[in-house]
């Protein structure tokens, strides 16, 4: 069966797993039923435990679903400590459902798969050795990749039923009031973990910093928490995020960033009270800087900035150029510290951020969004999941969710080394072309033909040529040559869900 982005899907597998093929980016107005967690009633005086082992033994059974958050990124100690205990205790057939998987988790996940401890995974993404392992058929059941908004949707629907959530926090009190802002290993917003805290049957906090009761501000509340475990260290602050975000000097990235800014400022959305989301890549950070100057020059202020937050964005907040920062995660220490000190930087959970099945998510209010791409094809479909060798090495993140913004700009170089970014067909469709409006490369821009309204506004920007995306693709191919098609087996190693839970593409096992 083929879906609406012309991808051939394995009919048997979809039926077996009760999936529908992707049809449209329109969510409509369905009525949905949300689920609620089980609660073991307590007054809360017995929550503090000194051993992960005891809690695992008391809560976990074979076949259950466990979850973690990835806010510590590559500075995470909690994931490895808990997984070690779970593997050693001999648990089998668990489903691993973290908000995402970072490099520091790879080795132990592979070990857990080999031991039969983990037999299913759902995540935003995976990279490095784990992506390689899965792409070579190391996990029997296909991994399910979901965007951050879709994970929230799936949890609320009960598609992901978390039995036990293990959540590391830099500070908590004895009843489990916790935040991500105080302690040694701070990361700011707990946005993704808030879903787990709200919907898991058992919520286990791990912290190296038990503070006086009651701990405020409380992002995770005592009403949600079953256990508080004291550990030596939850994370390595130096590896959570860079201290100060480096500003790119790469002329190609600067050129792209300047062009992105030109597209924004010439669009009808650049007016007082507009809103935006930028990513954390080099070009995206540089855009923030160009945008700042344009906002000052034109006396325009933004109503809010959304998403993963970096210091350049919180600087705009402190300068008064942005009224509010709606913060689901912080990419650097500057942004994390700012959440603590600036009350206009609001912590939001993944549902509020991006869940499509909602009474309104923040992304639905978004005017301008800048996203990256590993590949984009002549139909404007974007791949952020598989590399030029067909191997899993990325994450959906909020890509599909934020792309529903009114002006979605993909910023990407025409080629990277010998690999073309603009291609006839992406290896893996993650974000459908229907939700992408403009592609910005260092050579010029391409406007999605579905957005004729933008063509007028963006066609006469000095120094910004407008191309047909097919011509950009040919330009790229002329430079790097025609690659030999990648070879895959028939075996599906991963399913890519669209944000509404339909299947937009699959990833096959690589042949080599």
């Amino acid at each position: 069966m083929k879906n609406n982005v012309d991808r051939e899907l394995p009919t048997d597998l979809l039926q077996q797993m009760n999936y529908q093929p992707f049809a449209t980016t329109e969510i409509g107005h369905p009525e949905v039923q949300r689920v609620a967690p089980k609660v073991r009633v307590t007054t809360g005086d017995d929550k503090v435990v000194d051993s992960i082992k005891k809690v695992v033994a008391a809560t976990l059974k074979d076949g259950m679903t466990i979850s973690f958050h990835h806010h510590f990124r590559n500075g995470d100690f909690v994931f490895n400590e808990v997984m070690r205990v779970i593997i050693d205790a001999g648990f089998k057939n668990l489903t691993l459902a973290p908000s995402s998987l970072t490099g520091v988790m790879n080795d132990i996940v592979i070990e857990a798969i080999k031991a039969g401890t983990i037999t299913n995974i759902t995540s935003s993404g995976m990279r490095g050795s784990l992506g390689d392992f899965v792409s070579h058929g190391g996990l029997e059941n296909p991994v399910i990749f979901r965007s951050h908004g879709n994970r929230a949707r799936a949890i609320e629907h009960g598609d992901i039923k978390i039995d036990v959530a293990f959540l590391g926090v830099p500070s908590a009190d004895k009843l489990g009031n916790a935040n991500g802002m105080e302690g040694d290993a701070v990361f700011g917003s707990l946005g993704y973990a808030l879903m787990d805290a709200q919907y898991a049957d058992k919520v286990v906090l791990l912290t190296d910093n038990i503070v006086d009761y009651p701990n405020t501000p409380a992002s995770i509340k005592q009403t949600q928490v079953d256990y508080v475990i004291k550990v030596d260290k939850v994370g390595d602050p130096d590896k959570i995020g860079s201290g100060a975000t480096r500003f790119t000097k790469d002329p190609k990235e600067l050129k792209i960033a300047e062009t992105v800014n030109n597209v924004i400022t010439h669009s009808p959305y650049f007016k007082d009270g507009f809103s935006f989301q930028t990513g954390s890549g080099g070009a995206a950070l540089a855009v923030t800087r160009y945008l700042r100057q344009s906002m000052i020059d034109n006396q325009i202020k933004a109503s809010f900035a959304l998403g993963g937050i970096t210091k350049p964005t919180t600087d705009l907040l402190n300068e008064g150029l942005v009224q509010k920062v709606m913060d689901v995660q912080d990419f650097d220490k500057g942004a994390a510290d700012s959440m603590h000190t600036n009350r206009n930087q609001q912590e939001i959970d993944a549902s509020w951020y991006a869940d499509p099945d909602n009474k309104g998510a923040m992304v639905d209010q978004l005017d301008v969004v800048i996203l990256s791409a590993l590949e984009i094809d002549t139909k404007f479909n974007v791949n952020v999941m598989t590399g030029s060798d067909g191997v899993i090495r990325g994450a959906i993140g909020g890509h599909q969710d934020a792309a529903t913004g009114k002006l979605t700009i993909i910023s990407a170089p025409l080629v990277r080394g010998r690999i073309a970014t603009v291609v006839p067909d992406v290896t893996t469709v993650v974000t459908p072309g229907d939700s992408v409006d403009v592609l910005v490369t260092e050579y010029g821009i391409a406007i999605n033909p579905k957005r004729q309204d933008l063509r007028q506004a963006l066609s006469h920007i000095p120094g910004v040529p407008v191309y047909d995306i097919a011509d950009l693709q040919k330009m790229a191919e002329k430079r790097v040559g025609t690659p030999k098609p990648l070879e895959f087996t028939d075996r599906t190693v991963a399913l890519i869900e669209y944000r509404d839970g339909t299947i937009i593409d699959t990833v096959k096992q690589v042949k080599d």
């Binding site: 030029s388 080394g417 010998r418 690999i419 790097v480 040559g481 030999k484 990648l486």
Partner: protein, 97 residues
């Protein structure tokens, strides 16, 4: 042309290729390392072989460490490596360029 010594051209910087050419008795052998080997391996080896043939090299051992170089770079590095290996840098084979 005869290979008189082992010679290197190119760097390990992104978008470059480092070629090491040494003498061999029988034909051309290429040991290619590249992140894009799956999709461009044949083409990279093809450019190296064609350039060697254009320069009259019938037998050589080539080690190529590719960092995403374009064809023009691969050709330039091959020519430089051959000129160094054949000690002809003072009398470049202009017709090949």
């Amino acid at each position: 042309m005869e290979i008189k010594k082992t010679a290197i051209a190119g760097t390990l910087e992104s978008s470059d290729i480092q070629l090491t050419i040494s003498a061999a008795t029988n034909g051309i052998s290429i040991d290619l390392q590249s992140d894009v080997k799956k999709v461009f391996g044949d083409q990279i080896e093809g450019v190296i072989k064609q350039t060697l043939s254009d320069m009259g090299i019938a037998a050589a051992k080539v080690k190529a460490v590719d960092k995403g170089a374009l064809d023009c770079v691969i050709k330039a590095r091959t020519i430089a490596a051959v000129q160094r290996a054949t000690e002809t840098t003072e009398q470049p084979a202009w017709e090949v360029l």
